[in-house]
């Protein structure tokens, strides 16, 4: 994966993108189980008042995750 690959952490409210893969092996299993599947669409809904965590929609439901975790999900 190239350095300039974008991650979910860099998206802005309302934006949608397709999940490409994961940067962290440690978190990928959990993220996969929660429905962050490569190839599926992720939508950035809104962020918490201090900018972190964020709320995204994936696989038809809303999930909150921290920017740290969002940064491990690369998108196209």
């Amino acid at each position: 994966m190239a350095d300039h690959a974008k991650s979910v952490a860099q998206m802005s409210p309302g934006e949608t993108a397709v999940i490409a893969g994961f940067i962290s092996q440690e978190l990928s299993n959990k993220l996969l189980e929660m429905g962050f599947l490569p190839g599926s669409v992720v939508k950035y809904n809104f962020r918490a008042p201090f900018g972190d965590p964020i709320c995204v929609t994936v696989s038809g439901y809303d999930i909150t995750l921290r920017l740290e975790e969002a940064a491990t999900i690369s998108i196209l």
Binding site: L37, N45, A48
Partner: protein, 701 residues
């Protein structure tokens, strides 16, 4: 009568608890799984005339691979056929509005060869979303029964019972084929442990560290196999999840006739715009906190007074009826007040859990986590620490048990460590009497009551101590795993009131039995210490007091209460209180306060009762009498009042910080698996209390 065990499994927010409540009603009990500290909810349900089912409500999980303590138990039960809770049948509860992630666990259960029923729950929401599913086709493809249920209204429950009472054949589907490199290890494991399915054997290899029923030699056997075949736990896990989701997506593309729209969630998003707003979000959260606070103290007062007077009356009544003797004294003065001392907290705890249950049912609690996570992380905790900390205002015991949802060990440990610093309801009677004693009843600007402000200040002080301690812990405790927050934000819903009611009942019951047995045991020990002493002194009690009465030193009508005070002074507790006087003198306390400190070691609320006895007030009901008696007490060294502002403030600070609760220590021991953390906690909080009280006293005197 045929008996069988049925387990309810499914992801969080799938309406599992509602279904459990529908099936069991009030026939449920909470307890712990043996050896681990996970809440176990079981209940019985009559399926038909001759079948009785024991229903087990398992913690909500997305898959068999666990992350938190709660989740481990599920993997453990499903992979151990000798486990007492190993079910004959499994009900997989799916959130119909979100089938994809609900079915992940189902595919694993199918591979484990467990007879499973799929329940499509939350049909009302699914209908709103416009989703349409071919249920017959779904059932055919999965090769297992599918039942439509609305657990909130009870629709479909009878049908589910009928299906459960009948035979459920194991689905013939094979969803995940193991990687062929691992097959020899799986075969060897399956043979060695006499397992029924390959996937079960595979779970042994994947989760060797999580399955506590495996003996050390079993683990060694598995580990050597893993080494031989270059396998390590976690290998293939991502691939497995992807394959399972491919199967699910393929399945859903065949059975979902109309996919769900997003229109139905619009209302929920609109609420989120307000509730997670940077100004309104926090404002509303603090308003809710204020409301909880207000109701714990205002609404709980009447039932608490009632419980208090009922037990006092019962005690008096029985001591009139019983003949004299140490055994009957133990009952009327030790056991009955002990039980009363536990039950008196029930109203506050019930109200607190009513609020928490409503906030959880509506989906608001996950927004609190969302709102507070960033702030809490600065203090070494997580957004999920907010609920335990709030619960700490009522009682640290349920609060510490509520930390089980925190996945990360460090976050959880810090939360457990600082929660007892939150001013629990047992501190309130102590605060009330001391604040009334030293703070004038005047009003600031004719509006704010000084005593009220002081009381609020004490709660704030406890809270500040909690978060500062957390911040310090953050630097000291080493993290052994990465902290993360990945959590569903459920759609807002109206709470289901019967669920709220059942939560209150079960949480209160847990408190009464968990804390109760320890408070009772310790209060009996303390009663003995406070009632018995070296015989020569104790036997002299009556002659000494009578001599004082004869010499007109004291009034004859106070004989009884003077006797009690004399006996307490010369009891073992009194001797200990006197012997610690040199240690507590720098804090502004004398031996009388020392006795109160000793007796409140197990439960701090005992302070008021002890003070009443030692100052021979006689009637402990009468707060004004205690107050005026304390106010009149003279310090022989200074000739001034004993309870100066300095002593009062020092005592208040001491009670705010000190760990005077045996039940909390016992719970911390259980939750952290050892004496290390409760010991550190006890030493830390006592030191904090002592040093702060010392500074306060020296500063103000």
């Amino acid at each position: 009568m045929k008996r069988l065990k049925v387990a309810l499994a499914g992801k969080p927010n799938s309406g599992k608890s509602s279904l459990f409540n529908q099936l069991t009603g009030l026939n449920q009990k909470t307890g712990n799984f043996p050896g681990v500290t996970v809440d176990k909810k079981t209940g019985t349900s009559r399926l038909d005339e001759n079948t009785l089912a024991e229903i087990i409500d398992l913690p909500g999980i997305y898959s068999l691979y666990p992350r938190s303590l709660d989740e481990k138990i599920v993997a453990e039960i499903f992979s151990d056929r000798r486990n007492n809770y190993f079910p004959n049948k499994v009900v997989l509860v799916a959130d119909t509005t979100n089938l994809q992630s609900s079915l992940l666990l189902l595919t694993q259960l199918i591979d484990l060869r467990l007879p499973t029923v799929l329940v499509l729950n939350m049909l009302d929401l699914a209908a709103k979303s416009g989703q349409s599913i071919d249920v017959i086709k779904l059932s055919q493809h999965l090769d297992l029964p599918v039942v439509l249920v609305n657990a909130r209204t009870g629709q479909g429950i009878q049908e589910l019972k009928k299906v459960l009472a009948a035979d459920i054949p194991v689905s013939k589907q094979k969803i995940y084929s193991l990687d062929k490199e691992i097959i020899p290890a799986v075969d060897a494991t399956k043979l060695h442990f006499q397992l029924q399915s390959n996937y079960e054997a595979y779970q042994y290899l994947q989760q060797v560290e999580n399955l506590s029923f495996l003996k050390n030699e079993d683990k060694a056997f598995i580990s050597s196999l893993a080494q031989q075949y270059e396998f390590f736990p976690g290998k293939y896990q991502g691939a497995e999840t992807i394959i399972r989701y491919q199967y699910i997506q393929d399945l859903l593309s065949k059975v979902v006739l109309i996919t769900a729209g997003t229109e139905w969630k619009r209302f929920s998003y609109r609420i989120d715009k307000v509730l997670t707003h940077k100004v309104w979000g926090y404002l509303i959260f603090f308003l809710i906190l204020f409301l909880i606070f207000q109701s714990i103290f205002a609404w709980a007062q009447a039932p608490m007074d009632f419980i208090d007077s009922t037990f006092a009356n019962l005690s008096n009544l029985l001591s009139d009826v019983f003949p004299e003797g140490p055994f009957f004294d133990l009952i009327t003065q030790g056991i009955i007040p002990g039980i009363g001392g536990i039950l008196i907290f029930v109203p506050q705890i019930a109200i607190l859990f009513a609020f928490i249950a409503v906030l959880e049912e509506t989906g608001y609690m996950s927004r609190v986590v969302f709102l507070m996570d960033k702030i809490m992380r600065k203090f070494g905790m997580s957004g999920k620490s907010v609920v335990p900390l709030i619960s700490g205002w009522a009682c640290a015991i349920p609060a510490i048990m509520a930390t089980r949802t925190i996945e990360n060990w460090k976050d959880r440990l810090i939360t457990i460590f600082v929660t007892p610093l939150m001013s629990c309801s047992a501190r309130l009677p102590v605060y009330a009497i001391l604040v009334a004693l030293i703070i004038p009843e005047d009003k600031l600007f004719g509006f704010f009551n000084f005593q009220g402000i002081a009381l609020m200040g004490l709660y704030l002080l406890g809270f500040l101590a909690a978060i500062t301690s957390a911040m310090v812990m953050k630097w000291i405790v080493k993290a052994n795993e990465r902290s993360y927050l990945i959590m569903e934000l459920p759609t807002y819903r109206m709470p289901k009131w019967s669920n709220v009611g059942l939560t209150i009942v079960s949480k209160t019951r847990t408190f009464v039995f968990e804390a109760g047995k320890i408070i009772l045991a310790v209060s009996i020990v303390l009663w003995v210490l406070a009632s018995y002493g070296p015989a020569e002194q104790m036997n002299k009690a009556e002659s000494v007091i009578d001599a004082q009465i004869k010499n007109n030193k004291v009034a004859a009508n106070q004989r009884e209460s003077l006797l009690m005070a004399y006996r307490l002074e010369h009891s073992y507790a009194g001797i200990i209180g006197k012997s610690i006087e040199p240690i507590i003198a720098p804090l502004g306390y004398d031996w009388k306060i020392g006795i109160a400190l000793i007796t409140s070691f197990a439960a701090r609320e005992v302070f008021v009762g002890t003070m009443a006895t030692i100052y021979s007030v006689g009637n402990t009901e009468d707060q004004t009498t205690i107050k005026s008696r304390l106010r009149a007490e003279i310090n022989p060294d200074t000739g001034g009042p004993r309870f100066t502002t300095a002593t009062g403030l020092s005592l208040l600070v001491f009670y705010t910080f000190a760990m005077q609760c045996m039940s909390t220590l016992a719970i911390v021991k259980r939750e952290t698996n050892g004496w290390k953390w409760p010991t550190i906690q006890l030493v830390y909080m006592t030191a904090l209390a002592y040093i702060s009280a010392l500074i306060v006293y020296q500063f103000f005197s």
